[in-house]
């Protein structure tokens, strides 16, 4: 997916800050919540009052280990450092962060297309307060005064730093999208870019296509959606290519994305960059989670999106980066496809991605077994495509039984009862096999379906029979 613009290649590395979904802040007992009255959710510790001391939140460490494990990082003993700089929204005028020994290092994330993006580190740190500049255009130098809300101060963050492995705005967006999906799936963060619980800074440089040298990079800040990330990377790459084309050089600096103007503007150059004077945080002891704890964290991780995409692709016979698979996994609707009769998984995937996914709220409520029966009806030819879509729409609207809905709508009546009877007989006649199937030996499904086929002289909807078998086992 290398993007070549008149012989240039864009190189992107991303720094993502994700707020952790803990109950309390990183170093004190204040609640970790969004949207409270300003400066009501604070205490001596997160206000950095003289004499106060930080105490590390155990859950934050656990969530950090969770994301580290999900990103295939080395989860290691680590240490906190102080990052010193003056800013009114930082109560102590230093941020407690991690520096040369982060909790997670050297991992990777696989994009849906299969490309791996290196993860340099994913470390723990505290968030700052929030400054609102009043008057002017909302920028500090134009403001008449500023208001600071310290509710966010001390909220736990992981900063996830990628290698400069992305080659286009599209890839940068895909990376953030995937990372967000992993954060949500692992329960580490709610991943809401609009609420600021996921914040992305982009390091962008360009180089002649084919070069293996990195160009001078600029760090772009202030993108608050995937869309603005994409636009900002596009704009910045074009700006740099234009500069070089004009015989000028790119200056290493931090640039501010202006969403309205669709441009980046200079914030501060490398010469003006802060010297953060990092040194080990003397108020905290080194962090060395026992291997047994890390083992428990790793064992408790849910299936990750890449794994789920692979499973869904295998089940439905499609590609892991197909739009349908990516959409279904992103929306967490795998269960619908998995509940359908395996031989109709491809149809179930299409219906899920095309119809169900268009209404995420109703999708969340949709009963998987009813959906599976509907897919079987369609696959068995008992409903036409158009009828199936209509029934599905109703099913999503009000729930219920697809056959009843079909009957109500005057679609061809169905004798589901007789199929159920055949299935019952077949099961009753082979108790030993049923027990094995019920215990999880899935390949025996074929055995029973074959018997049903034989008993009905080939007239039964085998998908339906399959679903009945499963539902009997599940119930």
């Amino acid at each position: 997916m290398t993007e070549v613009r008149t012989g240039w290649e864009t190189v992107v590395g991303l720094e993502v800050h994700a707020e952790l979904s803990t109950a309390t802040k990183l170093f004190c007992g204040c609640r970790n919540v969004f949207g409270e009255e300003p400066n009501t959710n604070v205490c001596p510790v997160c206000l950095g009052l003289p004499g106060s001391l930080p105490v590390l939140n155990r859950m934050a460490v656990e969530l950090a280990m969770r994301i580290g494990t999900a990103l295939h990082c080395r989860v290691q003993p680590s240490q906190f450092h102080r990052k010193n700089y003056f800013y009114p929204d930082m109560p102590k005028d230093y941020q407690i962060s991690q520096y040369d020994v982060p909790i997670n290092a050297d991992g990777w994330l696989e994009l849906p297309g299969g490309r791996r993006v290196g993860i340099v580190r994913a470390h723990l740190e505290e968030d700052t307060g929030k400054t609102t500049h009043v008057g002017g255009g909302g920028r500090i130098h134009e403001a008449s005064h500023s208001l600071v809300d310290y509710n966010r101060a001390g909220v736990p963050l992981v900063e996830i730093v990628s290698a400069p492995d992305m080659r286009s705005a599209e890839e940068a967006k895909a990376y953030v999208d995937e990372l967000r999906a992993i954060l949500v799936a692992t329960g580490v963060s709610d991943g809401k870019m609009e609420e600021g619980s996921l914040r992305v800074d982009a390091n962008v440089s360009v180089r002649p296509a084919g070069s293996d040298q990195l160009g001078t990079r600029c760090e772009i800040k202030n993108m608050n959606s995937l869309r603005s990330l994409g636009r900002a990377v596009e704009y910045e790459a074009s700006r740099q290519i234009r500069l070089i084309g004009e015989g000028r050089t790119v200056i290493q600096e931090t640039r501010h994305w202006d969403e309205g103007a669709g441009k980046t503007g200079s914030m501060r150059s490398k010469e003006e960059a802060y010297d953060y004077r990092y040194f080990p945080e003397p108020d905290l002891v080194p962090l060395a989670p026992p291997a047994e704890w890390l083992g428990r964290v790793a064992a408790s991780l849910p299936r990750l999106p890449a794994e789920r995409r692979a499973a869904l692709a295998a089940l439905s016979g499609s590609s892991p980066d197909s739009d349908a698979v990516v959409t279904v996994v992103r929306l967490g609707l795998d269960r619908l496809v998995e509940a359908a009769p395996p031989e109709h998984a491809a149809l179930a995937l299409r219906r899920t991605a095309n119809e169900v996914a268009s209404d995420t709220e109703a999708a969340a409520r949709l009963d998987a077994r009813a959906f599976a029966r509907l897919v079987a009806l369609e696959a068995g030819g008992k409903l036409t495509v158009a009828q199936a879509r209509t029934v599905l729409k109703e099913l999503m609207r009000r729930g219920g039984d697809p056959e009843e809905i079909a009957a109500e709508l005057g679609f061809e009546a169905l004798d589901a009862g007789s199929l159920e009877k055949v299935v019952d007989e077949v099961v009753a006649a082979h108790p030993a096999e049923w027990e094995r199937y019920a215990a999880g030996e899935d390949k025996l499904a074929g055995f029973f379906v074959g018997l049903v086929k034989k008993a009905t002289g080939g007239s039964a909807d085998l998908g339906e029979a399959s679903a009945l078998l499963r539902s009997r086992r599940g119930g």
């Binding site: 106060s52 105490v55 040194f279």
Partner: protein
């Protein structure tokens, strides 16, 4: 009356806490005009606390081991609703919304906080002349300094304003003023006493400790405040050693090493060294096995200290920026950076500025390894050399300060000469080990001299045991 006698009398109902407090308030109100041990005398607060103690006794409840004993608190220990100034203009008007852990422990022991004592600004100094509120005078000779930085606490005890005081010791700030005022002062093992609520100077070195008229009182006070605290991550878990456990056990068979490098350090006056030798001989006469011992890295302590402590201070003191509390100085139309500068310029004294600048420099990019990094290595060497010495000795002996109390103003012009005051006390802070200063005779000028007993980490029991015996042997 000693603190022990007061507590015993109050607990037995032989005297009232109210009477004890009244007596001390009267003495302080009469004498402190000249001495200036206190930044604030908390008469109302103390009277209320005394009433509560007396009520407990009347109701048959035990108010605790320090029942009714007045305690003077160094003014860098946070007291809820009561100004805590660190003797700095920059904390003008600030009242902590919380009590330090030691303040709660004092209350739980029945002690009565009687006032907040003067100090060198942010505990930076060795004479209590670096106070924004003027110097404290030595009660033994009011033309002389009381030492520092806990000069107010030492003077309050020496003048009889309070039988007990708490100070903080980062490089000798309890022990050196104790020596100069002729009282006992101990710095506990790092982590034995919670730092929660102690306004930080150099977090990896700071410890709160007791000052008292005799060793047994100091031991009782330390035992009342020591022990684990979940609010301080650097506070040691596990049961604290009891300082008062073996005060009468004598020194028979105890191995005492006189630290050659400290006894012979630059600037030691002859009378101080001669008192040290005399104390060593007396211990030998009492059955201790006394010998000389070499702790080679100890002499590098001063240089390492003046990098590590300012480095940590530069970060710890960054929060005094005028944004949230304390002093704010601003010109109309100025921006936030100008406000920072004006506030810190007006709010901090020269010594604080000097150390903040030193520390900022020591942590700067490109200088870190040469300064802060190297100083930390020296620290490791000092610990190694102490460990070697403690293979052959139970405790070590050295002078506390190079000389007796010096005249006010005599060292203020030359910071380096002032810094040399701490050459014997600093190694214990760098190693995290306990040390105590005990009065032992007088200098040629008739002023008190202290000898220092050093012990390995958590060696408080044997340290106080030896100190108590030195006190018995003192001329």
């Amino acid at each position: 009356m000693s603190a022990r006698e007061i507590a015993a009398a109050v607990r037995a109902g032989a005297t009232s806490a109210a009477a004890v407090v009244e007596e001390h308030l009267e003495r302080a109100e009469g004498g402190d005009g000249e001495v200036h041990a206190f930044n604030s005398l908390l008469a109302d607060h103390a009277r209320r606390a005394a009433v509560a103690v007396d009520r407990a006794v009347a109701e048959g409840r035990d108010p605790g081991p320090l029942a009714g004993v007045p305690v003077a608190l160094k003014d860098n220990i946070c007291t809820r609703g009561i100004p805590t100034t660190c003797s700095s203009r920059i904390l003008d008007g600030w009242r902590p919304p919380y009590d330090a852990t030691v303040v709660r422990r004092l209350a739980d022991s029945g002690a009565v906080v009687i006032g907040k004592t003067n100090m060198d600004e942010f505990a930076m100094g060795s004479s209590t002349e670096n106070s924004a509120f003027g110097p404290t005078r030595n009660p033994r000779d009011k033309t002389r300094v009381p030492g520092g930085s806990s000069g107010g606490s030492a003077a309050a005890v020496a003048a009889g304003f309070a039988p007990l005081a708490l100070g903080s010791d980062t490089g000798g700030s309890i022990r050196q003023p104790a020596a100069l005022c002729g009282v006992v002062g101990a710095k506990p093992t790092y982590g034995l006493v919670s730092r929660y609520g102690l306004v930080a100077f150099a977090s990896s070195l700071d410890q709160i400790g007791p000052l008292a008229a005799d060793v047994a009182d100091a031991a009782v006070l330390l035992d009342a405040i020591s022990g684990p605290d979940p609010a301080d991550s650097t506070c040691l878990a596990g049961e604290a050693p009891r300082a008062a456990e073996r005060l009468d056990a004598g020194v028979d068979g105890i191995r005492v090493g006189v630290v050659r490098e400290l006894a012979e350090a630059e600037g030691m006056s002859a009378d101080v060294v001669s008192r040290l030798r005399q104390a060593a001989e007396a211990l030998a006469g009492a059955g201790a096995k006394v010998d000389e011992v070499s702790v080679p890295a100890a002499v590098y302590g001063l240089s390492a200290y003046y990098l590590i402590a300012p480095a940590e201070a530069s970060s710890n003191l960054a929060r005094y920026d005028g944004v949230r509390y304390g002093l704010r100085v601003e010109e109309p139309g100025g921006d936030v950076t100008e406000m920072y500068e004006a506030t810190r310029t007006a709010g901090f004294g020269d010594e604080v500025k000097r150390r903040v600048m030193l520390g900022t420099y020591a942590l700067s990019a490109g200088y870190y390894d040469a300064y802060y990094g190297k100083a930390q290595k020296v620290r490791t060497l000092i610990i190694r050399d102490f460990d070697a010495a403690y293979e052959s000795f139970d405790v070590l002996l050295s002078p506390t300060a190079p000389g007796t109390a010096f005249p006010l103003g005599s060292k203020t012009a030359d910071p380096l000469t002032m810094y040399l005051n701490d050459v014997c006390t600093i190694p214990s802070n760098l190693a995290g080990h306990p040390a105590i200063s005990v009065p032992f005779g007088w200098g040629d000028d008739g002023l008190p001299v202290g000898v220092q007993v050093l012990a390995p980490a958590l060696g408080e029991t044997v340290m106080f045991q030896v100190a108590a015996h030195i006190e018995r042997l003192a001329p």
